[in-house]
């Protein structure tokens, strides 16, 4: 069928059958349906301009323009459905792919992204983000955690402790995300849990983005004396974003418990079996 959907007992995720991009998430238990478009984009790293000679580098994130470029407007997709898991494999480009997964009994959508080596043959440094766009009326507000404990309310182009004269529309609204970022309206909350610290923001109402990888060509004159440019072709990085859709009122119990499982994930150890008894008894 033209429909490209994966689901388990609790969650359903729908993909555009032509572009292969995620377009909708549904919480079947709570009867919540949210159009969510997720895709990868890249900011062109600034090398300095007429406004400022500041370059994007290891210390400084400074894109050369406000709008990022899409890595690809569509993905080649493959579908896997078994008793225990349903997956959509998305291939956006030679250096950007993702597996969207739903395990049996799970309350979150798992997005395992693989990004890199980032190509810079065009002479442009690139800062790669995963962005979620929804219709949530968030009124300039979004929420990020501080070391996994306190959740801080963030307001676009604003600082609670001083009158901000915003000079960097993108970088000036980026914040550290140690374990989660979320947006909500009066009814629904969309939370993204990270498996490592990343930079994140919400630059438009209903939108939320996380930076997953960077590769820059110039040093930002803050002391490193070297561009953020790994040796050889550079690293490819794999990580996971867990997406939860909940009622705004009850979302905390969902993301807090899941974030604990993420941070204190089980340790898997293998053994051939048939070892000698430890003690004589």
């Amino acid at each position: 069928s033209g429909d490209l959907t994966i689901q388990n007992e609790h969650i359903r995720a729908r993909f555009d059958p032509v572009t292969g991009l995620l377009v909708e998430v549904e919480n079947l238990d709570q009867n919540l349906l949210l159009p969510v478009r997720q895709a990868f984009y890249w900011y062109n790293a600034s090398v300095g301009n007429n406004l400022s000679t500041q370059v994007s580098g290891a210390y400084i994130f400074r894109p050369s323009r406000q709008e990022p470029w899409m890595v690809s407007h569509w993905a080649q997709t493959r579908l896997v459905k078994t008793r225990l898991v349903q997956e959509v494999h998305q291939n956006f480009s030679a250096w950007c792919s993702q597996v969207v997964r739903l395990y049996r009994g799970q309350w979150h959508l798992e997005l395992e992204w693989t990004v890199g080596p980032i190509p810079v043959g065009d002479g442009w440094g690139k800062e790669i983000i995963s962005r979620f766009d929804t219709a949530l009326e968030t009124k300039g507000l979004f929420y990020t955690d501080s070391n996994g404990r306190e959740i801080l309310e963030r307001r676009r182009d604003y600082r609670p402790t001083w009158k901000l004269n915003q000079t960097e529309a993108v970088a000036g609204n980026y914040y550290p995300v140690n374990s989660r970022i979320y947006i909500r309206d009066g009814t629904m909350q969309l939370t993204v849990l990270t498996d490592r610290s990343q930079g994140g923001s919400s630059l438009k109402d209903g939108s939320m983005e996380l930076m997953v990888h960077r590769k820059l060509l110039k040093d930002d004159s803050r002391g490193v004396g070297e561009a953020l440019l790994e040796d050889g072709p550079g690293r490819w990085v794999r990580g996971r974003h867990l997406v939860l859709l909940d009622k705004a009122r009850t979302a905390a119990s969902g993301h807090r418990l899941q974030a604990e499982k993420e941070v204190l994930a089980p340790q898997v150890v293998l053994a051939p079996g048939g070892g000698a008894p430890y003690g004589l008894k």
Binding site: L4, P17, G20, A58, Y59, W74, A75, Q76, T77, R78, L79, V80, K81, T82, R83, L84, V85, E87, V88, H89, N91, S97, V99, Y103, R104, G105, Q106, S197, R222, G223, V224, G225, E226, L228, L229, E230, D231, R238, E260, K261, L264, A265, P266, Q267, V268, V269, L270, A271, P272, G273, G275, A276, P277, Y278, G279
Partner: protein
């Protein structure tokens, strides 16, 4: 004997903002990674000793550090092996275990020797396979599952079906 002090020391060094935010030269970042990896080695011995003591068997415990890129020599070669899952949380958890395997059929048994459902799926853009099975692990405890190859049975390894009109 195992030792967690080297990892403690590596973590202490990595409190520096260069390690936390990557604002160091490449060779320094590589050295941070080296210190962490060197610190993790003696911890594996520590964990193995604890598991041997708690499980009552001296096993040759193996840690697969590259599960995130589906590499684990033991699960990819052994016909039978055990999977011990340790849960550091103070509550029971259910966890989907994923292990790279060669293309075979498998039977997975839980600590009570009951068969648990399992699947073998093919990895994206490769022909690797991964064995999946749901595990239940007690609070601050561990569970041991046993995996056995079923001779002759080739799984219906769930191959991804190309969905887009374009070839993969």
């Amino acid at each position: 004997s195992g030792d967690s002090a080297p990892l403690n020391e590596a973590m202490a060094v990595l409190q520096h903002h260069d390690a936390v935010s990557g604002t160091s030269r490449q060779h320094v970042a590589d050295d941070y990674a080296r210190q962490l990896a060197a610190g993790w080695g003696p911890c594996e011995v520590l964990l193995s000793n604890a598991l041997a003591r708690l499980s009552g068997f001296k096993e040759n415990f193996t840690y697969c550090r590259n599960l995130n890129i589906s590499v684990c020599p033991l699960s990819q070669t052994a016909k039978n092996f055990q999977v011990i899952i340790y849960n550091p949380l103070g509550r029971n958890i259910d966890w989907m275990v994923r292990l790279p395997v060669l293309e075979h059929g498998f039977v997975v048994r839980d600590p009570n020797d009951t068969v648990v459902p399992s699947d073998v799926v093919t990895l994206p853009s490769s022909d690797g396979q991964e064995l999946l099975f749901p595990a239940s692990v007690p609070a601050l405890g561990f569970s041991t599952y046993s995996v056995s190859q079923v001779p002759g049975r080739r799984p219906y390894a769930h191959r991804p079906q190309p969905r887009s009109p374009w070839t993969w």
